[in-house]
Assembly symmetry: C2
Homo-oligomer: 462 residues x 2
Amino acid sequence: MHDPRQSPLSESANDLGASTALFADLYELTMARAYFDLGMNDTSVFSLFIRKLPPTRNFFLAAGLGTLLRDLTEYRFNQRALDYLASLDGKFPDPFLKWLEKVRFNGTVRAVPEGTPIFPMEPILEIEAPIGVGQLIETLVMNRIGLETLLASKAARVVTAAEGRMVADFGTRRAQGTDAALRGARAFWIAGAGGTSNVLAGERYGLPVLGTVAHSFIEAFPSESEAFKAFAEIYPGTTLLIDTYDTLVGVRRLVELIHSENLQIGGVRIDSGDLLELSRATRLTLDEAGLTEVKIFVSGGLCERKLSALLAAGAPIDGFGVGTEMSVSSDAPALDIVYKLTSYANEGRMKMAPGKRTLPGPKQVFRRYRDDVAVGDTLTRADETAEGEPLLAAAMVDGAISPTSQLELNQIRDYAAQQIGRLPTAVRSVEEATPYTVDVSPRLAADEAALEQRITERALVE
Amino acid sequence: MHDPRQSPLSESANDLGASTALFADLYELTMARAYFDLGMNDTSVFSLFIRKLPPTRNFFLAAGLGTLLRDLTEYRFNQRALDYLASLDGKFPDPFLKWLEKVRFNGTVRAVPEGTPIFPMEPILEIEAPIGVGQLIETLVMNRIGLETLLASKAARVVTAAEGRMVADFGTRRAQGTDAALRGARAFWIAGAGGTSNVLAGERYGLPVLGTVAHSFIEAFPSESEAFKAFAEIYPGTTLLIDTYDTLVGVRRLVELIHSENLQIGGVRIDSGDLLELSRATRLTLDEAGLTEVKIFVSGGLCERKLSALLAAGAPIDGFGVGTEMSVSSDAPALDIVYKLTSYANEGRMKMAPGKRTLPGPKQVFRRYRDDVAVGDTLTRADETAEGEPLLAAAMVDGAISPTSQLELNQIRDYAAQQIGRLPTAVRSVEEATPYTVDVSPRLAADEAALEQRITERALVE
């Protein structure tokens, strides 16, 4: 049995290899050098959160923490990275580079578990580390968590719309790069997809891999029937693609072959045309031939709204291959995700630029339930308690991953299904819902007001 | 001097490492096995093209070929990949895996050079290889060329809108993954961006790296003035961020410091608020203080339309930091890019599924010019000639990269600027233009009609 955790392929699977630390915006390095020169290395808290929901999302599904935690344990600047930085016009003198060489991530990460539904302004994670180190990892943290949360949040909608039918991730070819394709497969699985067409993702994450045949295969044969026969004899029980020339002709040909040649067919796939009409006509043809066991899969430009519409109209579809729309989260291809300093040297920090406010200090989120349905969250200071279940927990302490954060992907997937299931029906649905309530605790609100006043006064006297 | 071509970091820069061949959709492998079992290994031609323009694009800028060609020279299934495939429920028996172990890409690639503006239905590249091999690389080809073409096409618009002002790529944090961030930086450079904030991309591709300071730095100090002073003393001539608390207060503080402390400042950056009003007021404050040399950079949610609007209103802006919108091509986050079998065993192939037609056989594109302005393209058979300059040329022959395809990134960038400059003004602009004319040659149209008839007749008699 293939165990992805043991696989040497997985070992080499970090797309950035030894260069992880250099996956940074330049200003993180220039700031880190300034902190170094100035001897500023007090503890900072940075908070990662999303400022607002896109119109077509009712919640986000947090994902990517496992990926990030591994990066952080391996975080270092190797000699090549240091040589490159030394080549940049004297921006980074030797003493700083010597410090950088010794930088490891020994900080603390508090985070919501992967698979947790979250809302705007709620911390996905908080990093506690010396300010230079907390700053250096900014872009890595944002990109890693941002990507998987973006894609898991989209996929959760698609899975909901599929009403229990299989959703296969067919998005690799149109994903925005190889990393998005691979981590997308991971995020889609967390959100409840049934498998992926991406073989490397299957290997890397231990996911079911799916797929049988493309139009090019059918076209390579003198006739469609010959192609059907050739493929089904090699792969008994396979799914055949029937829309290369004419879907309804294709299914009739297939029925004839099943009877005349005793072909074993598990399903058919329709990849174009009016999927409602074609799936109905195909089902009818199959059923009339006694092939009630043969399943119908559809694909081609699908998204959660099309899935809902097809199922609402009663389309006899057993599974969906969803590609582009899910793989790039096409209706909301980026999140307004930010990574903000909220505390330095035990004092709250915040930005006051218009529309870009940050709540100060380390925080916690409590989720309240009534009859096991979430009814609202309270954003509090980290040292408060409030009604409900706290969402953030230690994921890494002093650079070591917490045992509770070393979850199997299937555990994360089960947890996500359970937590999504506890959301109010409207919030879970693909229709726009009344925003879920997130309150700010009186003490946190007071902290914000006090800090705002301090900053404003300082501005006046300065 | 740092030479990215010599860097060991660049050597390890393939994000997929030894796993490149496994970055495939499962059906490519199941089809390849069927071709192997059936002894079908005649030469195929696959064509990569984009079916249609998104509403907000007048052309695409081809990019990613250099990335892909390197992948193809390194293409192979290593033992780990083979072991994984062997673990998949008997889908891939030993004889096929033994064949797969020997697979190399020894085919031919004809392609438009990177940096060529292209239009719907025009081949970006054509792959000629035994059908199994041509099929195996499908997803890799689509993902690689699709990503960079998507992002270069978006960036070309942003660069046009900037009217010669610097466009800095600030997109890494919100890009869809690390691969998109890194190859995005490459694509943006090809399209004319002036540099990137992504340090690893700078190292990997030899690009200028940009960036100075973030809000968190300002917030870490007891006052904004102290932060300004500390940073500018370490980095004389730097650009300071002035909108952390209040932009106009910030710029006045900065002016005082420049005079009282003799700080050397090259520029200021405004990252929020009304960028037109704030840039005007900032310019006025700076000019009145005799600081006419201090430049103004802006960032924050920018796209080509906002750039155009700012410059049309006369905003005194010297450069733009563009992030999210460019890094995910937010108005068109995926291309309708496809990879289609167009010939097998020297006979044209095409799909007839509704709305998804493919023109048969290997092709060429000729671009006609009048007074050095492109006036239309003709899509022809590969063995035809037509008026104008042919766009596709051999990029790889029998698995070896053609010398003419081993271009420096700067050569590609210059070529792109030149070719975009030869497009009609309306097509180059960010406004929607009348579609550029792409004709199909009479002989290619006749091939299509003949093949369509052959397929239809076959369907009747079958």
